[in-house]
Each structure stands twice: as C-alpha cells, then as structure tokens.
C-alpha cells in the first residue's frame, strides 16, 4: 500500500517536475534559443541578444508575451476545443519522457514501443486538426498538406526508430521496450555487421524528423509566402504559445529518442559518474539539434509532391530495408 502510494507520488512528481512539465519547459526554452542562435549565425545574423545573457531568455519572453495576449477567435472558429487538443498533444509528448532513461522511475514493459509510437503521432494529428477548426482557406490547405506529408514521414520515422529497437530486442533481449532498447542500443555499434543498418536508420530518422518538425525543406504546410502560416494562421495569444511550445517539445522528445536509440545515450560513460552521463547526453542532444538546424539553413523548400516523392522513393524504402534486414540478421 505504502509502496503503491509512493509510486503514484513519484509518477506525479515526474510528470510535473522532472522530466515532465518544469524541466521540459526549461529545455524547450534552451532548445528554441539554441536553434534560433545557431540558425542566425549560419545566416550571418546575430540571433537573440537582448533578453538575458546572450539572449537566452528571449524564448521565455516570447512565451510570456503570447500568453498574455488576447485570444482572438475568428468568426465560426472554435474557442476552447483547439486549446484542449493542444493541451492533449503536450501531455502525450511529456508522457513519452517517462519511457526514456532520463526518467528516474522509468515506465516500461515488453512491447511498449507501440505505446510510444501512438503517443508520438498525437501532436501531428492535433496540428492537422487545428487547420480544420477555423474557416480559413489557408488553414484547410495547410492541414491538407500536413496530412499528405504525414502518410510519408510518420511511416518513415516509426520504421527508422523500430530498427534499433528490433535489433536490441532480437540480439540483446530488450523485449521491444523503448526504455530497454535505449539502454542497450550503444552495444549495437560494437558489432560491425549492424553498423550499416544503424547508420541508414539514423539518416532516415533525422530526415523524417526534420519533416515531422515542419522545418525546411519540409515546411510546406506552413509555407508563409503561399499560405501565411497554414493550420496556425488564425491562432494567436496562448494558443499560438502552445503551438510553438509543442514544436519545441517535439524537437526535444524526438531528438532525445534519437540520442538514446541511435547515438548510444550515456555511452561511453555507461559505468561512469552521473555528471558525465548527463553531460554526454546533453552534448549528443545539442549535436542532433545542430544537425537539424544545419539542414534547415542549408536547403530551400520542397513542393509537396517533391517531398512526398523523396520520402516514398528514398527514405521509406531505405528505412524499410534496414528494418527488414534487422529482422532476419
């Protein structure tokens, strides 16, 4: 009984503080600042400089500003339903954090990768639904584009993250669990036969993640020169703050999944001190965010058919190849 109560309190504490709401908010602010700063430096700009040390508090100031702006609801638009959907998407993303090794009391079971995959799709569906909840042609077009992309990139991303999970489960006994696969995945890099599969699925995961985050060259649903902000056109104030927060949290959670499943997590400090493990995970996380920002700064936007063609012609088959080989190897 006491054990059950302490576990429940632990779950609530993790959800609200670490690695849940408070910690995620801090990381989201840092991630947004780092991405904006790196992106600006790649374009010979300064990026945020004014608020906080080197502009570190600029994202926080932006969130506060948006949070206390008027929530304008366009005629025939829904007032509270989009906010509830956004809150659900934030909840889904933060629930995934409990299934990763950064959580002190990790939630895991055999085959829980299915639960993680289910939770990962929530934000995409929420963002697509937002466009259809306003009577705006830009919103409907943006959502239509987003759903068209979804059938390609969600497939590619899920197949890509399944490859290390399948390999870790078949070879190292990770039982198709996200947590156990994250812990054992660094051992996959020690086997030369598995390295090509890991490299292929890492590349496909990074490219499909770029599409999942709607960053260039896949920012087609919110192409500002064509359809203003796509599904988010008619949203302002706290709802816009939630949309930006979901983007940051999605980057944080998915990048962490890549760090743990593909980049070895705490390796090479598996047996090392805690501070070294935290430091190495942070460094790997920053590298993933930097690579995604670098891709964003380097390329121009695809058309929707070009993006779909690229994803279905190269990324999905490559990730599928790695997955099929990982099931027979």
């Amino acid at each position: 009984m006491v054990n059950g109560i302490s576990e429940t309190l632990m779950l609530i504490g993790e959800t609200l503080i670490y690695p849940g709401a408070v910690f995620s908010f801090v990381v989201a602010i840092f991630t947004q600042w780092f991405r904006r700063k790196a992106y600006a430096r790649m374009q010979n700009r300064m990026g945020p400089t004014y608020t906080g040390l080197a502009g570190t508090l600029q994202p926080f100031a932006d969130y506060v500003k948006l949070f206390f702006k008027e929530d304008i609801v366009v005629i025939r638009g829904y007032a509270k339903l989009p906010a509830f959907l956004l809150a659900l998407a934030i909840g889904a993303l933060m629930a995934i954090l409990l299934m990763l090794p950064i959580s002190p009391y990790s939630v895991y079971a055999p085959y829980d990768i299915i639960v993680a995959a289910y939770l990962l799709i929530w934000p995409t569906l929420t963002l697509a639904a937002l466009g259809f909840l306003t009577p705006s042609p830009y919103g409907a077009l943006g959502s239509s584009r987003l759903l068209t992309l979804t059938i390609a990139y969600e497939v590619a991303f899920l197949i890509s993250i399944l490859t290390p999970v399948v390999l870790a489960s078949r070879i190292l006994g990770a039982q198709y669990s996200l947590y156990l696969s994250s812990i054992y995945s660094w051992l996959l890099w020690t086997n030369p036969v598995l390295v090509p599969l890991m490299v292929i699925s890492l590349l496909t995961a990074l490219i499909s993640l770029q599409c999942k985050l709607l960053e260039k060259p896949f920012d087609i649903p919110e192409a500002e020169q064509e359809i203003v902000a796509g599904p988010f056109t008619e949203y302002s104030g706290p709802k816009l703050a939630f949309i930006i927060f979901i983007h940051d949290i999605e980057q944080y959670v998915n990048s962490l999944i890549i760090v743990f499943l593909f980049l070895g997590g705490v390796a090479p400090f598996v047996e090392g001190p805690l501070w070294a493990q935290i430091l190495i995970v942070a460094i790997k996380y920053i590298i993933v965010v930097l690579v995604l920002t670098w891709i964003k700064a380097m390329v121009a936007r695809f058309r929707v058919d070009q993006a779909i063609k690229m994803l279905w012609k190269y990324i999905v088959p490559l990730s599928l190849f790695a997955l099929i080989v990982s099931t027979v190897i």
Binding site: I72, A83, P135
Partner: protein, 115 residues
Amino acid sequence: MSLLMVVLETAVSMFIITLLAYGLYLYSIKVTKSFAKESKEKPLIYACGEHITEKEALLADRHLFTTIWNEVFKPLYDSLRGKIHTGILNDWFFWMFLALIIAYTIIIILGGVGG
C-alpha cells in the same frame, strides 16, 4: 511491469499535463480579458487582403480525400488514362475487357463467389 500498466501510467501523466496546460489557458484568457481591448478586426475572415464570405473560406471536405490522388499519385495512372480515352471505342473495350479479366482472376484466386 505489464503493458497495461505502461498504458495506464502514461495516460495518467498525459491527463495531468493536459489538465495543467488547459488550466493555464483558461487562466490566461481570464487574465487577459481584464486588461485587453477586444479586437474588432481579426474576427472577420481575410484572404489575399480582402474580406471573404464564410462559404468562400471553407474548402469542400472531399479535397481532404482526393488531393493526394490528384496531386501525388497522378503520374502513376495518368499514362493509363491517355491510353483508355483515345476516342476509339475498341481501345476502351480492350482496357475494360482487361480489367474484367483481372477482376475475374482475383475472384477465382480468392475462391469464387460461392464460397
């Protein structure tokens, strides 16, 4: 831990965060109502700098389902459409006959219509 417990614990976590975020939203609109001037401009629908009616603003739902076929998979069936619609009746009959044979073959492979 069983898979059901994982589902339950993640659901509880998701529920708590959803309540927290939605509560923050409700707090935000309550606070901002006290000092923000209500906007008169944005509730109207704009597109390309002009007011448009609600009917014009809404896209037909069918686009959601047909866009992908029309835009993405068009190259896959476009050449076939050219071959069928030549204006010569025999061409059309040929393709329809071919489609019928394929349909019959599939039905026979699946065990026929009588079960």
